[in-house]
Structure formats: C-alpha cells, structure tokens
C-alpha cells in the first residue's frame, strides 16, 4: 500500500527547453516543459520513442545541461550548482535504476550496492553492512557474493534497486526498469519499488513504455513531441493500462 503523496515538490521544472544539434539539424527535445513530481508519489513519464522522456529524466537528475527554463530538485536550483557540486548533490540525493541495470560485471552484488555509499564517503565496513541488509530486504540475501552474470534479470534489477536506495536518496530515477524483464519479474520489481522507495520525503520518477506497470503509478505524465501532453491523476492510471 503506497503512502499518500504530499504537495511538496520533489522536482519542479519551469519552461524547460533543450535542443540537440546545430543549424538545419536542430532537434528540440524539450519545449518549455512545466512539470512537477511530488514527494511521496510514484510518477511515471510515458510516451512514444523520441518524445523527450529520457532527455527530461537526464535534465532532472542533473546529468544533462538544459538550454532554457529552470529545474529545481527539493528546492535546489540545479543551474546554481557548479559541476562538482552538482555531481556531489546527485551522489547524495539521487538514486538510479537503469534499463540495462548497469551493474559492474566484475563486482559482486554486494560490491555493486556499496558504490553509492562509498562515493558519499562511507567506510567500506558500513557500506557493506547497509548493502547487505538492503539486499536481504529485497530478497536476495543469499546472493551477496554472486556476480551479475550469475543472477537472473529480475535478481539483477533487485540489486540495482538496492544500489539506488542504499544511500537513502531523496529522489529515485528509474529508466525503463522493466524493459529487460519478463512480465512477472517486471511486476515484482514495481511492487518492490512501491514498497521500498515510496516515502513521504522521497520522490520516485519512472520513465517507461511498459503499460503493464501503469497501475503502480500515482500519476502519469504523458509526453509527446517534447511536451507534457497530459497529466493523469491517481484515478486514471489504471484505465491507461491496455
């Protein structure tokens, strides 16, 4: 059961614009996007390929520079941060779940999960303790020393979720978290996200093509051609599932 969303904004963008290319090859990926994600909710961004979902996600988490407008994450205007401070801000406040998991293949599940804590200055011992506890929580406590290649797709995504949550970030960014999974595994992953990630002080943004997981969303932002075409509220998410 999810926590009711608050009206505090985890992310707020105003007239956000981003273009790629130059001259005749200019592509306007984001066209004055006004958008907000609230604390405590699981917001999905959906839309066809090339509509700007990934660009919006990249800008929100501070991995891609934008051209116009503003982005604020938990009240922090990202434009005011230097490159180093932005990296540090991201390391502390943002957790990532990627489509291809991006688990380092030569590191064990435990080592992969410790990374965000190590990057935030935690000791190896405390990082391993926290990572171990979280891996047990997500149901793969018996695979701590397994390499990613020894895990199924669902198990790898659980490791990735543990890695995204281990340092207690305030914003969780998930890019197509079920794209590489079968239907059953995909649902389990979303259940896990809903249970572990959705908290009143945390925002969760999921970019997806997978309509099967729409019912897990609190709200759905529908994008088209670089703009938010529609925002569907809690009652409409179930009906978007086809």
């Amino acid at each position: 059961m999810s926590t009711p969303p608050s009206m505090d904004y985890a992310v707020k963008t105003t007239a956000l614009g981003k273009t790629y290319g130059k001259g005749d090859n200019v592509v306007q990926a984001l066209k004055a996007v006004d958008f907000e994600a609230r604390c405590g909710e699981l917001l999905m961004i959906v839309g066809p390929s090339g509509c700007g979902k990934t660009t919006l996600l990249s800008v929100i988490c501070g991995t891609l520079h934008y051209d116009t407008g503003s982005v604020s994450v938990f009240g922090q205007d990202l434009a005011r941060l230097s490159s180093g401070k932005l990296t540090a801000f991201r390391g502390k406040n943002v957790g990532f779940v990627f489509q291809q998991f991006n688990l380092i293949p030569t590191w064990t599940a435990l080592e992969n999960v410790t990374v965000p804590m190590l990057l935030n200055g935690s000791s190896r011992a405390s990082a391993e303790t926290a990572a171990s506890a979280l891996l047990k929580e997500v149901g793969i406590g018996d695979k701590l020393n397994a390499l990613p290649s020894e895990l199924s797709g669902g198990q790898q995504q659980r490791v990735a979720i543990a890695r995204a949550l281990v340092h207690e970030p305030r914003l969780l960014i998930c890019d197509e978290p079920t794209a590489a999974l079968d239907a059953a595994s995909g649902k389990k992953v979303l259940q896990l996200l809903k249970e572990r990630a959705c908290r009143p002080d945390r925002g969760v943004i999921v970019v997806t093509h997978d309509s099967r997981i729409f019912p897990f969303a609190d709200r759905i932002a529908e994008m088209e051609d670089g703009q938010i075409k529609a925002m569907h509220g809690p009652g409409e998410c179930q009906s978007l599932y086809v």
Binding site: T63, R90, G91, V94, T106, W107, P116, L118, L119, R124
Partner: protein, 377 residues
C-alpha cells in the same frame, strides 16, 4: 573505490592479460636490448680491466684501447723519467693468427707482458702458474681459447702446442679473462717473446703501463706524461670511457640497438594505449553510471590511473624479470654480452611510467568527454 577499480581491471581477464603482456614485452625488449648493448660496450673495454693498471700510455693518436699505434721502445724510458712515476713497463698487444694443430687458423689477442714483472698478468689462473711464462715458448691462454678450439674439435690443455706466425707456442696455463668485444681469445706471453711472434716492424711497442708513486695523484701524473709530446696518457677509467664513447660515435651499434628499443617503446605504447583505450571504452557505460551516481572526475581519474599503473607495475616486473633471467642464462654461457646496471632498470621504469601515463590520459580524455547522461541511452 580503488579496490573495486582493481577488481574491475583483474575481472576483465583478456584485456588485463593483453595489457600485462604488451607492457611486459615492451619492458623485456627495452631492458634486454639495452643490457646487451651495455654488455657489448663493456666488452670493448675488457682489455683495460684484464690488464688492471692505473695509467695507460699510448701514441698521441690513439683514441681507444682496441686501437694500437706502435711506438718506439725508448718511449718507456721517457715515461720512466717523469717525476711521480713509480714504474713503467712495456705492453705488446696485437691480433695475430694462431695456427691450430689441425692446420686451421684462429685469431688471437697476443698480449706480451713485461718479462721481469709480468705486470698485466691475468687475475685468475684456472690451470698452471703464471711464472711458467718464463719457460721457452710458453703462453697462457684464456677460457675463450678453450671454447674456440673446442668448436674445432681440439681439446686445449696445458701442454698443447700451436703456432703463432710459424713459431711454436706451448700452453703452460689457462686463465680466466673478461671476454672482449673483438671476440678473439687472449694469449698471454712475455713481452720479449711477443716481439718474436709479431711480424717484423720498425716499432712494436703498443702501450706503456704506468704506476704512480705513492702520493702522486693519477690525474696529475696523466697530465705530466701527456705533456711529454707524442704520447697520450689515460687513467684506466678515462681510457675505458674514451673507448666506450669512441664505439658509440664511430659504429652503428647504438643505432641498431636504439632502433630495437624504440620499436619496443612504440609496440608498448601501441598495445598498452590501444588496449587500455578499449578497456575504458568497453567500461564506459559503467563509468558513466558511476558518474551519474556521483563519482566525480577525480574519483574516476584515480581509478583509471591506478588501473594503468597496476598493469604497468606488473608488466614492468615481468619484463625486467624475464630480461634478468635471460641475462642469468647468457652470463653462464659467457655470451651474448649482458650488463644490466640500475640505470637500465630506472630507464625502463620511466618509459613504462610514461606509457602508463599516456594510456591513462587516453582513458581520461574519453571519460572527460562522456556525459553521464549516456547511461540512459
């Protein structure tokens, strides 16, 4: 993170092996070839070390020890008259053909020692006594002569007789010498007998060997003798260095060895640089993910530099280790020449460090140019 960086490196076994092999090969080629080069140059000065006197005097035109411009014997007296000279004795040195018992010929470095003092005698006798050189037709041969004669099926031993310039030479002893660049064995005899073996010439004195009186500095005596006119004196160290420099300047040896060393460096840079670039390139997705998760450039740079230097350190160790094994094996056989001073290890180490820096730089440029956002693509 650094521990994990090493795990990342060791986990990609194919590239790790390729990097270590490339750098090992580079270090091996550089250290082995430069050691053979140094050994070869060292061989050029073997006569200086085999004779072991503090001051050598030669004709003023002489530039190095393997070059002889004969002098009149009266020059010995001139040198003896210089204040500070304790003693001065003549030395004959020339390459002559020895006729072996089977009728074949072998070039030898005939070294005629002062008959009375035997100054310049070999440092180590393996068989026989040095004093036996006073016996009629007596010669002492070195271990190289044993090898050379053995290749022709002749077992050289005390009592073997061969001919030099149609005159009998009877082996009364076998000594150990430092092998020389010229390759021919040393044959020691007395100065007076050496003159009998040598083809008749107006002047036959090759060098004058000098010892300073106690309290007379070698450089000062060298200077005094050199001012006599027509003569040139060298301290033994200076003579050795002049010989080395002469060979470096006047032969193609440095170019041929230098080419191989440069080839080693190029191969090292090509293999290590390219493989490391591929290693970084293939891990770019993961490095970008780390970047997205908050790894700053300095963290990633430390990881990449550590990875580059780890393979460099291991490759260096294996390369110079293999070169040392090669040296150990060849030194037992006596050839090819091999001399590995610490400067070669340092030189190889510096080159490997530069290759690692280059490789790391290639990777770092790639990382710096990559946006963390690529992780979403």
């Amino acid at each position: 993170m650094l521990r994990l960086a090493l795990k990342m490196l060791f986990g990609d076994r194919a590239k790790y092996a390729m990097l270590v092999c490339g750098l090992s090969f580079c270090a091996l080629l550089m250290s082995q070839q430069t050691s053979v080069f140094c050994g070869l140059l060292l061989w050029t000065t073997a006569t200086v070390r085999n004779i072991r006197v503090p001051i050598w005097v030669a004709d003023a035109k002489v530039e190095q020890v393997n070059e002889v411009v004969t002098m009149r014997e009266v020059e010995v007296q001139r040198v003896r008259s210089v204040p500070g000279v304790d003693w001065a004795v003549p030395l004959f040195w020339s390459i002559l053909q020895a006729r072996l018992p089977d009728g074949t010929f072998q070039g030898v470095q005939l070294t005629g020692l002062d008959s009375a003092s035997l100054v310049g005698r070999p440092a180590k006798m393996l068989e026989g006594r040095i004093e036996d050189l006073q016996l009629p037709n007596a010669v002492i041969v070195d271990q190289v002569a044993i090898e050379k004669f053995a290749k022709r099926g002749i077992r050289l031993h005390v009592g073997t007789v061969f001919e030099i310039n149609d005159k009998e030479a009877r082996v009364v002893g076998i000594c150990e010498t430092e092998r020389s660049f010229l390759g021919q064995p040393y044959v020691f005899t007395t100065y007076s007998r050496a003159l009998q073996y040598a083809p008749l010439q107006r002047k036959l004195l090759s060098f004058i060997l000098v010892h300073p009186k106690k309290g007379t500095p070698v450089p000062e005596l060298v200077h005094r003798i050199s001012t006599l006119g027509g003569l040139r004196a060298f301290s033994s160290d200076q003579f050795a260095w002049d010989t080395l420099i002469w060979y470096v300047r006047n032969t193609g040896i440095p170019i041929s060895f230098g080419t191989v060393v440069i080839l080693g460096i190029v191969v090292g840079i090509a293999i290590a640089g390219q493989t490391f670039y591929l290693f970084v390139h293939e891990n770019m997705r993961y490095l970008a993910a780390l970047k997205a998760m908050g790894a700053g450039f300095s963290v990633l740079a430390k990881m990449v530099v550590l990875q580059a230097f780890t393979v460099g350190f291991i490759g260096y160790g294996l390369g110079v280790g293999l070169a040392a094994l090669f040296g150990n094996a060849v030194l037992r056989k006596g050839q090819p020449p091999f001399y590995m001073p610490w400067q070669i290890l340092a030189f190889t180490g510096v080159v490997i460090i530069l290759i690692c820096l280059f490789s790391a730089l290639v990777g770092l440029i790639k990382i710096a140019r990559t946006e963390a956002a690529m992780v979403f693509k």
